[in-house]
Amino acid sequence: MTVTVDTTAAAALALGDDALVLSHRLGEWAGHAPVLEEEVALANIALDLLGQARVLLSMAGDEDELAYLREERAFRNLQLVEQPNGDFAHTIARQLYFSAYQQLLYAGLAAGDGPFAPLAAKAVKEVAYHRDHAEQWTLRLGDGTDVSHDRMQRACDALWRFTGEMFQPVNGVDADWAGMETAWLESVGEVLRRATLTVPEGPRTGAWAAGAGRQGLHTEPFGRMLAEMQHLHRSHPGASW
């Protein structure tokens, strides 16, 4: 398959937007985490993702122009990563779903020789840690108190509908999407079961539920997130910071 520069740029945008948007959401936790040690942990993950985003967006153009001057419909991130933080359980469920996906994706890309191999080789170590962090907390919240079990189950159920979209092939990203999905279901299912949680049964594909973020169709909270993220940059056209 011949991969043109444009295809690579579009693919970089999709992966870069995932990292950018999730990093932003995690950044919203600063000063609000349940315990100080977790302030440090969440910030580490956010910084890893922001680093990935900057490399990826730079493959597609100017990182700041892309981050700050695109309209909502031009963003290519998954709907999963734009979902609001909710309580700590929602944040952990989002982390578990996404980091398990990112780990599979980057492991595959790092093993190949495509344009994303160098980034993936570095990022796969970072996301392995993100996944471990999410797994540890899923186990503790799922198998902690009755309250935490219920919250964690609700969070897993609520975000489940956004997980099908992750395995929609991205043009320009050389991956075994179907194989990744099988592996993802297996590994996430295993963590949830160990955490005494029920693997959600709701739909993961179809209609608005999935397959939209990559095409530029987002959920309501995303517009507000972008408004906040972009307003200062847009208020001073052409300025350097």
Partner: protein
């Protein structure tokens, strides 16, 4: 509030291979696994380490400052344990 009191852990970091682990500080964690991860996030975020130990603070046995004299002073008057105690004629090598 006792259910939310996480125990205290002491953190030891090996800064690079070939060096011993040294005490870096402490933190709170509910269990050893999270203690290890918290230690990684807190004490090695600028690349300060290649290996970490965490030990529950309550598991450490220490000498007491009151026993300082009997513990440590007797070793101060045994200079023959140090190489500088011995006089060797000038010119003798590899000794």
């Amino acid at each position: 509030m006792s259910t939310t009191d996480w125990p205290l852990w002491e953190v030891f970091v090996r800064s690079r291979r070939g060096l011993a682990h040294t005490h870096a500080g402490s933190l709170h964690a509910p269990d050893a696994e999270l203690a290890l991860r918290n230690a990684r996030d807190l004490y090695t975020r600028r690349g300060e380490g290649v290996s970490i130990w965490v030990v529950p603070s309550s598991a450490i046995t220490a000498s007491s400052p009151d026993e300082k004299d009997p513990f440590f002073e007797p070793s101060a008057d045994k200079p023959y344990r140090h190489p500088t105690f011995y006089e060797i004629p000038e010119g003798v090598k590899h000794l």
